[in-house]
Amino acid sequence: MKKKGCLIAGIAVGIILIGIISIVLWYIKTGNKIVRLDEGVSESWAQVENVYQRRADLIPNLVATVKGYAEHESSTLTDVVEARAKATSVNVNPEKLDAASLQQFEEAQGQLSSALSRLMVVVERYPDLKASQNFSELQAQLEGTENRISVERRKFNEVAREYNTYIRQFPASIVANSRGFEKKAYFEAQAGSEKAPEVQF
């Protein structure tokens, strides 16, 4: 009788132990997967920053080239330079890609985009500038950069969506909450952002 009780108790303890171990293992595994997805989002964000930086890097050269042909457009050029300074000064913590910080980034980059497009309208008045070798090379680079920007924004949204979906689904949401993983913000689809913005010169 006593022996039988021991056996049952032993089995019960064993089952409980196995249960606990598998929960712990599941917790670790799920946590690791979230970390991996989170890293993917950070990586994707780095790419987004890269391509925006690439655009910022083109601007000094662009401004210098336009200046050489269009001295009277200094106010438009100043706008571009100022918007660039503002856009490059916005720093987003890749660990904390929430709606507020993403919006701040968007606003600064958006101002630079519109300053640039105003400059491109102005440029229309200077056929010599448009015909110059230097300018047409800059044009090709700027076009490629705008394409890259829309591609990397789209890829970021895809990766962020995968992460968000995973951490908000039960039961992974338990792990995400306990370890403080938060939802990432998306880039808003701007009007016509499905298509790469066309840079008209």
């Binding site: 076009e143 490629g144 591609v151």
Partner: protein, 265 residues
């Protein structure tokens, strides 16, 4: 019974592989020349295909030539980027793919062409070079109605710029990394579980034991199925025949970031 099993396994494979009917999903038969707009003659298409296949086999670098009359509302650069990424042109590890998309000029719309470079090609063919190829080589030919010549020239220039940068090794391992163990595990699992079940089924319905040959065929079909339906990462397509100088072994899962240039005439 064996036939039914075959039908089931292959149906499953085809559903898994081609469930997505999107134009940006890889085609059932991988090719490097997709002439949807019918701008090449048969000989031109074959010649171009041979050139691109042998370049792919030698260097693992893949150049896709795609012609279409309908860009489905996308900007041509965006269309080509999605195509390259979706089909997986170039190798996953090197992102060494190039996509050339050509849309013929019609009475109401201008002709458009784009060269999109994978991440790994961007340093070898910068955007400015793409622009120069388009404006100095392609568009002048297209204006004279020499579509094949324009595209063929552009392909030659791309090949000469990329040559020497990547070796065929990139290609050889596309299905190899880590998968021998997985393959062995699957095989063992099948032998352990599949054989008795299969034997029981055939015994019951046909009244005789399956021969070893039948069993082997079934296992091979199953493995082929798994290989076909699960590319690396589950999203890219891998062809299974490689090695001949003219054949094309399948796409490698390369990525595109929007580099390149476009032009219209």
């Amino acid at each position: 019974m064996r036939r039914i099993l075959f039908i089931i396994t292959f149906l499953a494979a085809s559903v898994l592989s081609f469930a997505n009917d999107n134009i940006f999903s890889p085609p059932a038969v991988p090719t490097l020349v997709a002439d949807n707009a019918n701008v090449f003659t048969n000989n031109e298409r074959l010649e171009l295909e041979n050139k691109l296949n042998s370049f792919s086999n030698k260097t693992s670098t893949q150049i896709l030539v795609y012609t279409t009359t309908d860009l489905q509302g996308y900007d041509i650069a965006d269309f080509a980027q999605r195509l390259g990424e979706g089909w997986g042109i170039g190798q996953d590890d090197f992102d060494n793919g190039v996509v050339i998309v050509y849309k013929p000029k019609t009475d109401s719309t201008s002709g458009e062409v784009t060269i999109q470079t994978g991440y790994g090609i961007e340093p070898l063919i910068p955007d400015i070079t793409c622009k120069q190829i388009i404006e100095q080589e392609m568009i002048p030919s297209f204006r004279q109605g020499l579509v094949y010549e324009g595209i063929d020239n552009a392909v030659d220039i791309c090949i000469s710029l990329i040559k020497g940068e990547y070796s065929a090794n990139g290609n050889a391992d596309t299905t190899g990394e880590g998968s021998p163990i997985l393959g062995l595990a699957i095989l063992i699992a099948i032998i352990l579980m599949g054989y008795p079940i299969f034997g029981a089924i055939t015994k019951k319905t046909e009244g005789k034991k399956a021969t070893f040959g039948q069993y082997l065929i079934w296992v091979l079909a199953f493995i082929l199925n798994i290989l076909l339906s699960s590319g690396r990462g589950g999203s890219t397509y891998h062809g299974s025949s490689r090695g001949s100088s003219h054949g094309f072994g399948g796409y490698g899962g390369g990525h595109f970031g929007g580099g390149g240039a476009s032009g219209r005439w």
